[in-house]
């Protein structure tokens, strides 16, 4: 999907096209795989918090308050791949 196609979808509030694109990106062209990848990342993030370890909330708040939305969105994609990699179930052909 070209950028033009995606921006048009945003303008028309066609969220189904947008989330489909995200799934295709995360699933290397396979929408079902992308959906599973999203689930996989969230499960891994949840598992990391189940023992309620101490986390650096000051860092989190500082990052959220000081960084621009685009950087945070970029971080969001990085975090997805981080947790997918951490799961040990890597479906992608190459490497980060």
């Amino acid at each position: 999907m070209s950028l033009h196609y995606l921006k048009e979808a945003v303008a028309n509030n066609e969220t189904d096209k947008l989330i489909r694109y995200v799934r295709l990106h995360l699933g290397d062209g396979n929408e079902t795989a992308g959906r599973n990848e999203i689930d996989k990342a969230w499960i891994e993030a949840l598992k990391a918090l189940l023992d309620v370890p101490t986390t650096d909330r000051a860092f989190v708040f500082k990052t959220l308050s000081e960084q621009d939305t685009a950087t945070l969105a970029h971080l969001f994609f990085h975090l997805h791949f981080y947790f997918v990699q951490r799961s040990g179930k890597w479906i992608h052909d190459g490497q980060l």
Binding site: L3, H4, Y5, N30, E31, D93, G94
Partner: protein, 166 residues
């Protein structure tokens, strides 16, 4: 080497059969015609450069942005005298398992060094040029990355360029 690569299964069979359905608008057509430049000297006297979309880059440089949903429009200079062990791949959209074992299958730097040393080609530019092929905005790709690489190629004094999609 005893492995038979012909026996390796295609990792994602049929993937490209539905590319237009899955990624509307990403496949572009061009109405304008740009003729290939004519080589002005024999290959044995020409300085060759290499341009690749394989995502190969020198180790310890900023990895290509393979997570970005719209793509990475930057490129890396790869010193043409590099050793294979000086280089690495950051790319998740094509199978890199073979290239991880021998980078030359996707980025034939040692073969080109050999051809230059043997005089088959006149020489190599100081740098080769590498980027990743996952780009969702063809106009930006054309106006930034392609232009940037073209300028860098000219700046390196190339007489000819070997273009290799991953």
């Amino acid at each position: 080497m005893t492995d038979n690569y012909n026996d390796m299964p295609q990792l994602r069979p049929g993937l490209w059969d539905t590319i237009n359905e899955r990624y509307p608008g990403v496949m572009i057509t061009k109405d304008d015609f740009i003729p290939l430049a004519q080589l002005k000297k024999p290959l044995s006297e020409a300085r060759l450069t290499f341009v690749s979309s394989a995502g190969v880059q020198p180790k310890r440089t900023m990895p290509f942005d393979v997570v970005h949903p719209v793509g990475d429009y930057s490129f890396r200079r790869v010193f043409s005298g590099s050793k294979v062990n000086d280089l690495e791949i950051h790319q998740i959209k094509y199978p890199t398992n073979g290239a991880s074992r021998d980078l030359n299958v996707i980025f034939p730097i040692e073969r080109l060094q050999e051809l230059a040393a043997e005089g088959v080609i006149g020489g190599l530019t100081p740098n080769f040029f590498s980027f990743i092929g996952y780009q969702m905005d063809p106009p930006t790709f054309e106006s930034t990355l392609a232009e940037d690489i073209a300028s860098a190629v000219v700046g390196d004094g190339a007489d000819a360029a070997l273009l290799c999609p991953a």
